[in-house]
């Protein structure tokens, strides 16, 4: 049935059930104007099939919990309108790519955050106990570079979009490298070379091929490819100087 116009027609929604092995189960959901994919999934779970598992929290595009694959693309379901993506009234929902599956639409984020640590994604204090504010000029090159990447909320949309992650299970990942770049540019951080060393590894920043899937899909319009390019420059320079 042709829908997508909020005319009360039905959406045909295929939902992944199971873990890595499983099947797509089909549901019929009445389509309403301005309905988001989150509305669709919630309708299924509350009215049609209470056994469907999925995640959400804020439902207003701030937390990133609702990320999943919608018709082959990783998106936040709370910020995706059904009418925009349901071609011919059909939707296919699956858990985020490149991550293990807990159940149905819920992916296991453990490895995502493990890699965050591995990439050196923690701030290293340089003057613990100092009573002075750190002075960072807002228009300095470093501050601008850090600002450009700092809004990441770790939703894993970029990680799911990335083909290098799919091809190389050890690849640290776009979000992780983006965070490392913001720390490399944080002039308060006490171990810049440590951050560079952490990403200058096999399956580190040099594995990126600049596909820019991450940039295209980031719901916060961040540019991990640009951050990774920065890391490539910085690590090469540091290596040539013998610092890492």
């Amino acid at each position: 049935m042709e829908t997508g116009k909020g005319d009360g027609g039905a959406l045909i929604v295929e939902v992944w059930r199971g873990r890595e092995e499983g099947f797509f189960q089909t549901y019929s959901v009445p389509h309403q104007e301005k309905q988001t994919i989150l509305d669709v999934v919630s309708y299924i779970q509350r009215r049609l099939d209470a056994t469907v598992s999925y995640r959400f929290a804020c439902r207003i595009g701030m937390c990133g919990s609702c990320a999943m694959m919608v018709n082959g693309a990783p998106r936040w379901t709370c910020r995706t309108h059904a009418s925009k993506v349901a071609k011919g009234g059909k939707l296919r929902l699956a858990p985020l790519r490149n991550l293990p599956v807990i159940k149905d639409l819920a992916a296991d984020m453990t490895v995502f955050f493990d890699k965050w640590q591995k990439a050196g994604g923690s701030f290293v204090p340089s003057q613990p106990g100092s009573q002075e504010f750190a002075v960072v000029a807002p228009d300095s090159k470093e501050r601008k570079a850090a600002s450009a990447g700092i809004e990441c909320i770790g939703c894993a949309v970029c990680y799911s979009a990335c083909d290098v992650v799919a091809w190389n299970p050890d690849y640290l990942g776009p979000a992780q490298l983006n965070r490392a770049w913001t720390l490399v540019n944080d002039v308060r951080d006490g171990d810049r070379n440590g951050h560079l060393a952490a990403v200058a590894v096999d399956a580190g920043c040099h594995a990126c091929h600049s596909h820019q899937n991450c940039t295209v899909y980031c719901p916060k319009s961040l540019n991990p490819t640009a951050s990774i390019a920065g890391l490539k420059r910085a690590t090469v320079l540091a290596a040539l100087k013998g610092e890492i």
């Binding site: 190389n168 200058a200 590894v201 399956a203 580190g204 040099h206 490539k232 290596a239």
Partner: protein, 111 residues
């Protein structure tokens, strides 16, 4: 201190690319010029034989292409097939050597 193999391979790839860019441009322009009115061995050799310039040009071309191609192929195989590790590195080095040998032989043949 780890070996940072991937970092140096990355750098070698980018550096060889920078060397190749002007050489490729020169080669393309030369080819377009050379094929006018057909191509004969005499014409090629007339240009290249005994020429220090072409020896240096194509010698450098061969060296850069050998490195660049080997590293590129290694990346493709590593990502798209299950093959990786020391045996793949050896195969990539083998490709580099093949191009160097065939290439310098060819350079010797035409200059």
């Amino acid at each position: 201190m780890t070996a940072r193999v991937e970092l140096w391979l990355y750098l070698a790839q980018r550096l060889s690319a920078m060397v190749l860019a002007p050489l490729v441009l020169g080669h393309l322009i030369t080819m377009v010029y050379a094929i006018q009115g057909g191509l004969t061995a005499a014409e090629i050799l007339g240009r290249t034989q005994g020429s220090i310039f072409w020896t240096a040009f194509y010698g450098l071309f061969v060296a850069a292409a050998a490195v660049h191609g080997a590293i590129g192929l290694r990346s493709i195989v590593r990502e798209m097939t299950p093959w990786h590790g020391a045996s793949l590195n050896a195969a990539a080095a083998g490709f580099c050597l093949l191009v160097l040998v065939l290439g310098f032989r060819a350079v010797g043949a035409v200059t």
